[in-house]
Amino acid sequence: MAMSLVSPEVRDNVENRIRVLRGEQGWSQAELGKRLRVSRQTVNAIEKGRYDPSLPLAFRIARLFELRIEEIFTAQDESQDGGAEASDG
């Protein structure tokens, strides 16, 4: 889950490439929100890493950009390790 009541030590930070992917498509946050059936505010929070989307929403995002989930979302420790664990599967 995202920030708020959960302390930073407990949270698993997940990074994502949504802002870049959205930019490539030339979509605004509102437009992406419309396609994903979420609010612009939620798109903004996901892009900033303040909210981690649910699995169904992550699948919708992946389907929209025609990518796999792990090509969009990366756990921070994975990205620091060069994505070793992600590439195992």
Binding site: M1, L5, K34, R37, V38, T42, I46
Partner: protein, 137 residues
């Protein structure tokens, strides 16, 4: 606040539902204030007194129905925010009620009208909502 949380393709409908919650909340608040004032103002027969005392229940039911419809239009993050705000609101309202209760024992605070408890709950909820929302912005 309502506009921002609306899902784009449902914008107009969502905004009108948000307005409905606001309108019903204002009507409920006015009904409580009006009802309290009328009950203090003069002696009523039992039937009339009951009618006036329970009059605020109707707008509150309207507010709950509007709130339920409005919640159905929120996306997953907005629901998370509402849930966390609710949890904080309960904690805040509990602390306030305990503190006020203790202060009453010391007679620092006088007798309070129980029907005004909604003010504490509403105030706690607004504070909690703004706090939680700011952490997702």
């Amino acid at each position: 606040m309502v506009d921002e949380s609306c899902i784009s393709e449902q914008g107009a409908s969502c905004r009108s539902r948000g307005r409905a919650v606001l309108v019903w909340s204002i009507v409920a608040a006015l009904a409580i204030i009006g009802s309290s004032a009328l009950l203090v103002w003069r002696e009523w027969s039992l039937g009339a007194g009951l009618l006036i005392a329970l009059a605020p229940v109707a707008p509150f039911i309207g507010m709950f129905i509007a709130l339920r419809r409005s919640m159905g239009r929120l996306d997953e993050m907005q629901r998370t925010i509402q849930l966390e705000a609710l949890a904080l609101c309960v904690a805040l309202a509990s602390v306030v009620s305990v503190v006020v209760g203790q202060l009453q024992k010391l007679e620092i605070v006088g007798e309070l009208d129980l029907s005004m408890g909604w003010v504490v709950i509403a105030g706690s909820y607004i504070a909690a909502y703004l706090f939680v929302k700011s952490r997702y912005a």
